[in-house]
């Protein structure tokens, strides 16, 4: 399904987007994600296709609002039945079937305020499905769920969507959710700045906004020094990093290098530096669930994620001297941003 929507207020959007299967739309808080969904649902003045000329109650969409917006005076199954187009006698059975699909069969009688946040979200999802819509609009569908429930629910949801053949557009700021989608798009500055299969977007973010959103923790501005066949060398704060050159770059051009913390490894107490490795010191060090996160003094200051086992063997400690290794394949080359904007991941304008 191809969507074209245009809004002016509260935020100007000009959106051109393909929705196939389960499509995730990633964007920072305040980017206009909720605004877009409301526009498609007909709840905000907007121009667009499809549905653009229909009143909201005639648009064949299922909408899961950001705050769930369950009807507080109706219990779970009646909330779901609200969207069902069935004779009275069959409503309950129909609603319970949908609730069972989201794992809430035993909570059919509960009022929303007696459900936990995650349960509420699932009821709202069932309600959105009730109308058998031609398009599902999901606003942060998993924000209230713990990791295990989120993954289970998402997998089921994606299967359900495949089975019913209903395309779904889910907006989120969670890259994990985007990663599980059939297709993803990134919203920034009122436009879709990149779209495609998630692994492609994750592997080759088109600009700095996308890179940040999909989890590249190191974003280093640099200047291309020379290109030597399959390898280009980029100067980053005095260090020459080897990268696989992009078609577009020429020596002397300013670029931005994006590197995942997980892709930087350490080399065991090497006396001689192997290629693509250099010495530095650990600035901070912090144990996390899946490994040890270190930052280095630099230059350039980098963030790396080291597996627990490796960290133990290397006896990492604050201020210790280490050798970092960075494969050329792990570095993405992005166009340099017009102006350095370091507050992107913070200080976003107010949410919807």
């Amino acid at each position: 399904m191809h969507l074209r929507y245009h809004t002016e207020r509260p935020v100007a959007l000009d959106i051109d987007l393909d929705v196939e299967g389960f499509t995730a739309l990633l964007g920072l808080s305040g980017a206009g994600k909720s605004t877009l969904l409301k526009a498609i649902a007909g709840l905000l003045p907007a121009h667009g296709i499809p549905f653009g000329e229909l009143p909201p109650e005639r648009r064949p969409i299922g909408y899961l609002p950001q705050g769930y917006a369950l009807f507080p005076h109706l219990n779970a199954w009646r909330n779901v039945a609200f969207g069902l187009n069935l004779p009275r006698a069959q409503q309950r059975a129909g609603a319970c079937e949908l609730l069972a699909r989201v794992g809430l069969a035993q909570h059919a009688e509960a009022l929303p305020e007696h459900l936990s946040g995650g349960q509420q979200q699932r009821v709202a999802l069932a309600r959105a499905l009730a109308r058998k819509p031609a398009l599902l609009l999901l606003d942060e569908p998993t924000s209230a769920l713990d990791a295990a429930t989120r993954d289970t629910l998402l997998v089921e949801l994606i299967e359900l969507i495949d089975r019913l053949g209903i395309p779904a557009l889910a907006v989120t700021h969670d890259p994990h959710l985007a990663g599980m989608a059939d297709r993803m798009a990134v919203l920034a500055g009122g436009r879709i700045v990149q779209q495609g299969p998630p692994h492609e977007v994750f592997a080759a973010p088109g600009n700095v906004d996308v890179a940040r959103l999909v989890g590249y923790r190191n974003l280093l501005p640099g200047i291309v020094r020379e290109i030597d066949g399959q390898t280009a060398y980029v100067d980053v704060e005095g260090l020459a990093l080897a990268v696989r050159p992009d078609s577009g770059i020429v020596p002397g051009s300013a670029v931005l290098l994006a590197i995942r913390a997980e892709d930087i490894t350490i080399v065991h107490s090497a006396v001689t530096e192997p290629p693509h490795a250099w010495q530095t010191r650990i600035a901070t060090l912090r144990r996390e669930g899946s490994g040890v996160r270190i930052t280095t003094t630099g230059p350039p200051a980098l963030e790396a994620m080291i597996a627990h086992q490796v960290a133990r063997e290397a006896q990492l400690a604050s201020n210790a001297r280490i050798t970092l290794h960075l494969a050329p394949e792990a570095i993405r080359i992005l166009p340099a941003p017009e102006r350095a904007d370091h507050s992107l991941s913070r200080g976003s304008p107010r949410p919807g």
Binding site: G42, P56, F71, H73, F82, G83, L111, A130, R131
Partner: protein, 240 residues
Amino acid sequence: MLLLALPFAGLTGATAWSGFHLSPGDFAAMRISVLYTAAALVLIVVLGTPTAYWLARSHFTGKWLIELLLLLPLLTPPLAMGILLATLYGPYGWAGQPLERIGLILTNSAAAFILAQFYGAAPYYIVAARAAFEGVPGELEQVALTLGKTRWQSFLLVTLPLARLGLAAGLALAWVRALGEFGIVLIVAYYPQGIPVKLWVNLQDMGLSAVYPLLWLFFLIAMPLPLLLGLLSRRRAALL
């Protein structure tokens, strides 16, 4: 609180319980009060609810003027209100004269009684209902739309149930006001005699001893509705 309850303790003391009896016509007054107040209430709900909803949901520049107009009847002393209504709807009033020609006499008639109660109670209902509607998140109505319900269905199925606490309070207030309305009724509809006017007549004709029993009767018939509404909304609130 105690201060407010004191006079009623006094009432209990002052009533001659042994010689407790109603005056002739008291029951007729009760019937009139209950019947016509119910009619006035229906009128108030039917006309007041859309007005309140409109006030709650729409935003435009001249709105404060409308709100001022709503305040006016609240503000006017009942006696003055009665005089104004008599001027307007009286036999020589410019609304009363044409209405009289089509057979609707608005002086000392059932219609006049209901009219007086309407003016006395409607503003209270509208103010309360408006606050209740303002408390219902617009988002829920919007979601109902996306689920394929029309605006009217969404009002019935979502807005009304969610506003019911406030609406019940408004209804109770309007009931109490309409039933107890005296000043306006005294001028516009001395007849048919509801309980408040009957109280006045009893006082003039027979003195206090005839007033107290009627007052008790009045409490007896006036209380159930507000209490019921309060109870119902509390029960539902507890259910939630």
